[in-house]
Symmetry: C2
Subunit: 391 residues, 2 copies
């Protein structure tokens, strides 16, 4: 049972093949689990062993190759016919002298594709150096091209069905954020609060359940709010401390993250209050500048000029494309709002704008996930933009 | 604040350098987040952008290179001095013409290591093809060796402090499993049950909190129990259906997974009851054959002969080394219990033995995580081995 119609998958495949032809590629070997899911529906936590999807411009159905024990699981989630799903033997898993890519290489040869122009995803998380070396060992005469981000770019404009899942993810994100704010209090262990957040993320709502986000809840406290990617500890929350919250909802692997900052107590330092107000003003201003036809860097400039007037600077990008994904990232690695990115915004592109101001020993973050509409943009969540007082 | 003593990290580093010398390597570039954590304590969800740890046999402290915004976070978790933590500019993140590995290459040159014998982890998840190509572009004259699994092998024998964390993880796994069994009932949505399991995993116990396991709860139902790696849906559990449960506890990134199978109702089919009994008998028999001095394949043979007598066969390995890890896997990729693995078992090696019998349209699984003791082995969890009736 796939989560989209077969027609939608066939449309995606058609757009993929069209990009392949533009890049003069006849076969691509996809190893990014999000790209594999996007084209087939395949959804399982099996990407810790090598697996690929082979797309040929000459064939109607792509070919899925997974570990033998995962063929049954693939059968439950893809639209492909059974003979388009191959399993490699377990004797190839995590050994020194053999590798799943030898099986993939043999398969490519048997299909008669060895003389085709073949692309591999050199920049995908799960296509490591050994994968390519083993593939090359089996197919010594093939010169592999790079097809990194080819399908990611096809993914960049969402269908209505995808936007709907991201709206549902946005509702889950609201619930997760409210749960966090409701549970942070002096004396409560961080892990106990995160446990409630996780529960909210996975429960979802009565109308639809939650999926696991590609990134765990990030909820650093105190001076750790000066950095974005720490997780949690067993320590209890303390009075008069900040907590950064970056949480996503997830629905059928589609994400809508949301970041906010809370203060445990009633008297946040003036410098944090000022930073919060300036950041929220900047977020409102920058979201207001978004519409089809403007470029990523033009939007970023609105923010940059806003904080420059306040004597501030943010060295990192302020937004990135996102949607369907697997750990370790919900970003799509295509567009970023920063100087030099001249991509023109188009309707149904989707982004996470995160204004994380990480100072030396404190920080404030506020974010929105949104899609580009015909006239501007619309957020997936509806949650107040401010510094929250909790506990 | 590191979770182990500085002395323990220095011991690990010493053993790493000793292996480097055996393999004739002077510098290694580690990209596996578990290996980076093992040697420095660094713990953050930042591995979705490239980051490395450089270990030189000539220097006391390794050098950590992370994204600029993650330097503060590193400072909170490592034992290294501040000048051993470098941040690369955000302009290198996810762009076509530059890459964090260019920064790493420049750093290697500045350190005067360009003429050294340098190893890279070609088989690590987060060291993809582009990483090596960009590093090579910056250091065109270096011929990179492969140091895959070098540190993983150092990790294979645990310290007492590590065994303690895995025991704590085993206690959390017991709680997570009991929570799953208590919550599965006809009419309950799968996502609502998984939400309770997640909560239990992250809460941990009153004495110590939980960390996020490297693999999400895997709880397939019905005919999906014929495959190991599917996650959950919004569907309610139904009467007279099997549910496979593979869940881990995690403590400071150390894992102790546990798998069991439940039947929703009181009347499991005879074939499932028989499979359960045979598998549990085999688990008991096989665990009983474990002791220092025997090899991985010798242990596997005990299981193989047991099920052969019953007319069954399992095509996949029955156990693998595990411990400290990050998504997407809690396994260490060193040893497996299967034909051909002649590694000799030694005290304080740690494994997950999972006897997953995935038949055409049903399945049963039962597992234990354990460490090798002086006389045999001991499990990290204490949980009945049987087919559970629930709901």
């Amino acid at each position: 049972m796939t989560v989209f119609t077969k027609e939608e998958y066939l449309q995606r495949l058609k757009r993929t093949k069209s990009r392949m032809m533009e890049q003069d590629l006849e076969v691509i070997v996809l190893a990014d689990p999000a790209n594999m899911n996007y084209l087939t529906g395949y959804d399982g936590w099996s990407f810790y062993t090598p697996q690929v999807l082979l797309v040929s411009v000459y064939e109607d159905e792509p070919q899925l190759i997974v570990r033998g024990m995962d063929v049954n699981g693939a059968g439950h989630t893809v639209w492909l016919s059974a003979d388009s799903c191959q399993g490699y033997p377990d004797s190839l898993v995590q050994v020194a002298d053999k590798h799943p890519m030898n099986f993939v290489g043999d398969f490519i040869r048997k299909k008669g594709w060895s003389d085709k122009r073949i692309g591999v995803e050199k920049d995908a998380y799960y296509f490591n150096v050994r994968c390519l070396e083993e593939l090359q060992k089996t197919l010594p005469h093939v010169r592999f091209e790079d097809c990194s981000l080819l399908v990611n770019w096809v993914r960049s404009i969402k269908s209505q069905a995808e936007i709907l899942f991201m709206q549902e993810a946005g509702k889950i994100a609201e619930k997760a954020m409210q749960t966090a704010l409701d549970n942070i209090a002096p004396g409560v262990r961080e892990c106990d609060c995160v446990a409630e957040v996780y529960r909210a993320q996975i429960q979802g709502l009565p109308e639809f359940g939650g999926d696991y986000p590609a990134i765990v809840p990030m909820m650093p406290t105190g001076s750790k709010t000066s950095a974005p990617h720490l997780t949690w500890t067993d320590e209890p929350y303390q009075r008069e401390q900040p907590v950064n919250l970056e949480l996503s909802g997830c629905r059928h692997r589609y994400h809508a993250p949301l970041a906010r900052t809370a203060w445990v107590g009633q008297n946040p330092p003036q410098k944090l209050q000022d930073l919060a107000q300036n950041t929220v003003d900047g977020l409102n201003l920058t979201l207001g500048a978004i519409k089809p036809g403007v470029t990523c860097e033009e939007v970023e400039l609105v923010w940059r000029q806003h904080i420059a007037r306040l004597g501030l600077e943010k060295k990192s990008r302020i937004a990135y494309a996102l949607g369907l994904n697997y750990p370790p990232d919900w970003g799509e690695h295509t567009m970023s709002f920063r100087p030099g990115d001249t991509t023109v915004l188009r309707p149904n592109m989707t982004f996470h704008m995160i204004l994380g101001m990480w100072m030396d020993d404190y920080g404030f973050e506020c974010s929105e996930s949104f899609w580009i509409t015909d006239e501007g943009c619309a957020t997936f969540s509806d949650f107040p933009r401010k510094l929250f007082m909790v506990g």
